[in-house]
C-alpha cells in the first residue's frame, strides 16, 4: 500500500510522522462534479440526463487548492489531494496535480456509491487518518452539485478537529518562537459571516473551508500537466481503509432521498418588446403602474 513511505515514517508508537524537512503537510479533499449548468432533467421520468455532461473539478474546490498552493509557496511543504468517486474522478485529481499539488489518492469502491454527507465525511476522514500527520485540511465551501457544504465540517468532526468555515483570508501562519521551530503551529484567518469578518486563531492541525474571496485559482502549467499525466494515483478501496460495507453507501447513510420532483413555478407572465421610443414609454409606464399596484414605489 503506497502511503507516501518515502516522506512519512512510523515512529515507535506506530504514529505516522512527517519528515522534518517538510514544512507543511496540507490535505485538500476535492470532488468531481458535472459542469452544473448543463444538467437536464428527463421530462418523462424525472431522472437526470448525465450522458454527455462534462465532468469538472468542483469550481469551489479550486479555491481550496489555490489556498494550499499559496501556503506551500511561502512555507514549503507538500499538498495531497484526495477524492472519493468513480474511477474517472482520477481526472479531477490530475487537474489538481497539474495546478501544482504533489500527491493524489483516489477513494474508489462501488460500495461508496450513494453515500450521503455523513457517510462521505466518514470515508474521507478515514482516508485522511491513513495519510499520517498533517497540518491543515482545506476544503471548498461546498460542491456545486450537492450544494450542502456539510462534508468539510463533517470531516473535522470525525477527526475530532475544530473547523473554521467560510475562510476569506489567511492572515498568517504562526511559528512557535520559544521552540525555535520553523514548523508553523498555529494559523490566523479572516472568516466571512453575514455581518462582516471574524478574525479567528487556531492551533494546527485544523480544518478550513474557504470562500471564493480568498484567492484567484491559478491555471495548470505545462510542466504540471505532464506530471499529472504520468503520475500513478493510488486507489484505495473500502477494505484498504478498513471500512465495512454497511458503514457506507446507501446502507451507511442516515438520510435517504425518497422523491425527486420538478418545482412548478406559476407566474402570470407579461412581456413587452421595446422597439422604439413609443414602446419603451409604454413598457416603462406599465412597469411603474405594476410597482405602484404592489406598493413597491
Amino acid at each position: 500500500m503506497p502511503i507516501f513511505k518515502e516522506r512519512s515514517t512510523k515512529n515507535s508508537s506506530g504514529k505516522w510522522v512527517n519528515d522534518k524537512n517538510i514544512a507543511m503537510r496540507i490535505i485538500v479533499p476535492i470532488k468531481q462534479v458535472p459542469s452544473s449548468d448543463d444538467v437536464q432533467l428527463d421530462p418523462q421520468t424525472g431522472t437526470l440526463i448525465r450522458q454527455g455532461v462534462e465532468a469538472i473539478v468542483n469550481p469551489l474546490d479550486l479555491y481550496a487548492i489555490e489556498t494550499a498552493l499559496s501556503i506551500r509557496d511561502k512555507h514549503g511543504g507538500e499538498i495531497i489531494v484526495i477524492s472519493m468517486g468513480p474511477a474517472q474522478a482520477a481526472e479531477a485529481l490530475r487537474e489538481a496535480i497539474s495546478m501544482g499539488a504533489d500527491e493524489a489518492v483516489l477513494l474508489c469502491d462501488s460500495v461508496f456509491a450513494g453515500s450521503d454527507t455523513y457517510a462521505t465525511a466518514y470515508v474521507l476522514s478515514t482516508a485522511i487518518k491513513r495519510l499520517g500527520e498533517y497540518d491543515l485540511i482545506i476544503c471548498g465551501e461546498r460542491a456545486t452539485d450537492g450544494e450542502t457544504g456539510q462534508v468539510g465540517p463533517g470531516i473535522a468532526s470525525f477527526l475530532n478537529l475544530p473547523v473554521i468555515t467560510y475562510v476569506s483570508k489567511i492572515d498568517e501562519l504562526i511559528e512557535n518562537h520559544r521552540k525555535q521551530s520553523k514548523h508553523p503551529e498555529g494559523i490566523r484567518v479572516h472568516r466571512l459571516i453575514e455581518t462582516g469578518y471574524e478574525i479567528i486563531k487556531a492551533d494546527l492541525p485544523v480544518v478550513l473551508t474557504v470562500v471564493k474571496e480568498i484567492a484567484i485559482p491559478r491555471l495548470p502549467t505545462l510542466a504540471g500537466k505532464i506530471r499529472a499525466r504520468n503520475l500513478q494515483i493510488p486507489i484505495w478501496s473500502a477494505s484498504d481503509l478498513g471500512i465495512e460495507k454497511n458503514q457506507v453507501g446507501l446502507t451507511g447513510s442516515l438520510t435517504k432521498v425518497v422523491k425527486i420532483h420538478k418545482p412548478c413555478i406559476v407566474r402570470k407572465s407579461e412581456k413587452i418588446t421595446v422597439e422604439n421610443e413609443l414602446s419603451r414609454q409604454e413598457a416603462i409606464n406599465r412597469l411603474i403602474s405594476i410597482l405602484q399596484d404592489k406598493l413597491l414605489l
Binding site: P153, F158, P162, I193, K201, P263, R286, L297
Partner: protein, 343 residues
C-alpha cells in the same frame, strides 16, 4: 467518539421539536422567528412540544420571552461567556449534551454561516441525519417522520429527503424561505436556564476580533434587489444599475458571470453558489437566467426582467418582462422611478 449503546436509534424514545435560535451578539436574530414558524407547524402536526434552544451570554429575559410569544412552548437557554460568539466546539458540545438528555425527535437551525457549520459538526457527533438548506419541511402523515425538501441539481428539481432511523432528524432551513412567526399575546411557556460545565466549553479556536462589513449581508435583507448580469458589458456600465438601485432604495445583486469577471464583489452574488434571496421585488437586468441563478431568486414575490434576448430563461420566471436594450430602458426607468417617488 460516541457510546453507540447510548444512542440506540430507537425512534420511539425521542420526542419534541427543537429550533436552534440564532444569536447575534447579545440579541436573538430575527431568522429565529422564521424557524419558530416552521417548528410550530411541525410540533402541531406531531402533537408535541416546541422548544427553542438558545446558546449565548447575557441575553435579555424579554428576548427569551419573545420566543415564547412567537410560538415556543419552552426556551432552553444555555448561558456562558464562552458561548457569546459562535465557536464550533463549545456550541456543538453543549448541544450534544442537551440532545442526549432531552432526546428531541427534530432539530432545525437556520442555514446561516453558524447553522451550516454547527449542524454538520454536531450531526456527526450525534450520529444524526442532516439535510442542508431545506426550503420546505413537512411531517409524513404515515410515518410521522420529517420530510425535508430542498432544491437539488442546480435547482432544477426538488428532492424530498427522510431520515429513516437516526434521531434527531436534523435540517438547516434557508433564511427568508418562510415568514417569521407573529407575536401572540397571552402565550405562556417555560424558560429553563442552564450553566454548562467547563469541560463542554473548551475550544482550540479563539475569536480575536470582528470587522463589520454591512455590504456582505444587505442583499439578503433587502426588500428590493436590482441585479445585474453579463449583459451590462463592463464594470463601468454598472453605474446605470446603481442609479436605478439608488432611486428604488434597493440592494445590488449580481449573476455569477459578473462576480467571476470582478465587476462586483462576491457578497453581491445571487444564485446557488452565491446567496438565496426572497425580496418583494427583484429586477434582473441583462441576466439570461442560468439555472443556478434562478435557483437563488425565483421565490421573490415579484420578478421583473429586462433583457435583449426574448428566449432568455429569465423570462420564464418573470412576472413582467421587457425585451429590449437595457442601456435605453434602464436610465429611462430610473428617471420615472425618481419622479414617482417624489410625489
Amino acid at each position: 467518539m460516541i457510546d453507540k449503546n447510548n444512542l440506540i436509534n430507537n425512534t420511539q424514545s425521542y420526542g419534541g421539536v427543537w429550533i436552534l435560535a440564532e444569536v447575534a451578539g447579545k440579541a436573538i436574530d430575527k431568522v429565529s422567528f422564521e424557524l419558530l414558524s416552521r417548528g410550530r407547524q411541525l410540533a402541531d402536526a406531531r402533537s408535541t412540544e416546541l422548544s427553542a434552544v438558545v446558546l449565548g451570554w447575557r441575553i435579555n429575559q424579554s428576548d427569551l420571552e419573545e420566543l415564547i410569544a412567537r410560538g415556543a412552548d419552552k426556551v432552553i437557554f444555555v448561558e456562558s461567556p464562552q458561548l457569546e460568539h459562535f465557536l464550533v466546539e463549545p456550541h456543538s458540545a453543549c448541544l450534544l449534551e442537551l440532545i442526549k438528555q432531552y432526546r428531541p425527535e427534530i432539530l432545525i437551525a437556520a442555514a446561516t454561516t453558524t447553522g451550516r457549520t454547527l449542524m454538520p459538526y454536531l450531526a456527526v457527533r450525534a450520529r444524526a441525519g442532516l439535510t442542508a438548506d431545506c426550503t420546505e419541511l413537512k411531517i409524513d402523515k404515515e410515518t410521522g417522520g420529517l420530510l425535508q425538501i430542498r432544491p437539488a441539481i442546480g435547482g432544477n428539481v426538488l428532492a424530498t429527503i427522510i431520515t429513516p432511523a437516526a434521531r434527531p432528524q436534523m435540517a438547516t432551513v434557508r433564511p427568508r424561505s418562510t415568514k417569521p412567526a407573529p407575536m401572540q399575546k397571552g402565550r405562556t411557556g417555560e424558560i429553563v436556564r442552564i450553566n454548562p460545565p467547563a469541560d463542554l466549553l473548551k475550544s482550540c479556536l479563539q475569536r480575536l476580533g470582528f470587522e463589520s462589513d454591512q455590504s456582505t449581508h444587505s442583499i439578503q435583507d433587502a426588500d428590493i434587489i436590482v441585479a445585474v448580469g453579463r449583459g451590462i458589458g463592463n464594470a463601468r456600465n454598472i453605474r446605470i444599475v446603481e442609479e436605478l438601485a439608488d432611486a428604488l432604495d434597493a440592494a445590488i445583486g449580481a449573476s455569477r458571470e459578473v462576480v467571476d469577471r470582478g465587476w462586483l464583489g462576491y457578497p453581491h452574488q445571487v444564485g446557488l453558489s452565491g446567496k438565496t434571496v426572497t425580496p418583494k421585488l427583484y429586477i434582473a437586468i441583462g441576466i439570461s437566467g442560468a439555472v443556478q441563478h434562478l435557483a437563488g431568486m425565483q421565490t421573490a414575490e415579484t420578478i421583473v426582467a429586462i433583457n435583449e434576448d426574448p428566449q432568455a430563461p429569465i423570462f420564464t420566471v418573470a412576472d413582467f418582462g421587457i425585451i429590449g436594450d437595457l442601456f435605453e430602458i434602464v436610465p429611462a426607468l430610473t428617471e420615472r422611478v425618481r419622479q414617482a417617488r417624489k410625489k
